[in-house]
Symmetry: C2
Subunit: 224 residues, 2 copies
DNA sequence: TTGTAAAATGACTGACTGGTCAGTATCCTG
DNA sequence: CAGGATACTGACCAGTCAGTCATTTTACAA
């Protein structure tokens, strides 16, 4: 406590000495972080720039040195928070065993959508969908589509391998995507679905995977 | 064209002579309809009461004769638009054949979430989730939960019947719900998932049902 | 026809907030 | 340490819009 009078009611982020100049990147990150918190809590319209500024430990005017306006800040916040692990994942070595590779990808996806940030982003993006369609576009291309392609390639490998039956394969990626996404969202919004049995993320994933594998298991040899 | 100068640029709803007194119920319905359209297009915050009034063919002040404020209007609009076919469905006669009964319920659910109104409501409700949690509660109880219970009872009947294997049954309703819901939302937001193959609602349902039945099909008799 | 109660109107107000910019603090160079 | 350059500040302004209410219109009974 060097000088409580200055920092006492400044919220978390701000502890880097106020009014001190900072390298542009750092300030930007500060503001983006604050924006995420504020927007997550109250949405694009109900969030006052003043609040973001306070959260970031910065004056309102400062925000305008880094972003031309509120909407641009929002957009930029979304873009940056869509941390994409896909680059790493896509170039990572495939497991030679298709089933294990499938498992690895699914688990990575699950941990991605299970992070607390993800459902918030999803809600914010869908919430402003009619107003900022390019943002949804970005989100779709950057997240949904790429994951689905990746999943599909894993499924296909399992089909070639004989681990999965071919009947459901063509749509399997979309089905799995739907199951995982919806479960992640249900977990995040207990209000919206009184999600009692969904606390344990691993357990949920196991159930979903069990269901998925049941659908994909090769058909029984035709009964005599 | 009796008197174009009066009605020419009044939008659709308003054709009941303006400024004429109407029974309270009718006016309320007028306003709610307009509110749905307006909120659907621009969301709770971006919609001006003036716009709703114009759409309803009514002056702004009139709205306040029927609703205490904007938020209440929004809430009421959601409540009423969640047309619940469930009452009818729940008391409707079950088909004695469990599989056919299952089919009937699923198809009714699908037609419900496939109506253009549904995704709009869903988006609006989730969009204001942190601000109006009671609304989500209402939506959840009135829609998601009741449907899931109904679906589950159909699934259980099919399991008793031997049409479905018991392995995946305990979570089957939630899985099916997740699949249908997510597909309905994907169809409604092509931007968000470049939903190419999802135009034909019946075809989509068939694929989902095919997948679901594959997961639920009884396990093959243990191989010799 | 007229009187009156209820319904509807829309100009108005006041609070609010996105965005600005003149002024201040800090840093840096020589 | 001077003095220029740049990051930062926050009081202010202008636009917006939810909500109000004095006035007008309508319906209808006498």
């Amino acid at each position: 406590m060097t000088d409580p009078s200055v920092t006492q009611d400044l919220p978390v982020t701000a502890r880097l000495d106020p009014r001190a100049r900072r390298p542009a990147e750092e300030r930007e990150a500060q503001i983006i972080d604050a924006a995420f918190t504020a927007f997550a809590a109250t949405g694009l319209d109900e969030t006052r720039l003043e609040d973001i500024a306070r959260l970031a430990g910065v004056a309102k005017g400062t925000i305008y040195l880094y972003f031309p306006n509120k909407e641009a800040l929002f957009r930029e916040m979304i873009r940056r928070t869509v941390v994409v692990r896909l680059d790493a994942l896509e170039s990572a070595p495939h497991d030679p065993d298709p089933l294990r590779d499938f498992d690895r990808v699914v688990r990575t996806y699950w941990s991605y959508v299970t992070e607390p940030q993800f459902p918030v982003l999803y809600r914010l993006v869908t919430g402003v969908l009619p107003r900022l369609p390019e943002l949804s576009q970005f989100f779709a291309e950057r997240v949904s589509l790429r994951w689905q392609k990746l999943l599909q390639s894993c499924v296909d490998a399992c089909v070639r391998d004989g681990s999965f039956g071919p009947e459901q394969a063509p749509e399997a990626a979309r089905m799995l995507h739907a199951l995982l996404m919806q479960h992640a969202l249900m977990r995040a919004n207990p209000t919206l679905c009184s999600a009692i049995h969904l606390d344990d993320a691993d357990a949920v994933l196991d159930r979903v995977l069990g269901f998925f594998r049941a659908a994909l298991r090769p058909a029984a040899p035709s009964p005599a």
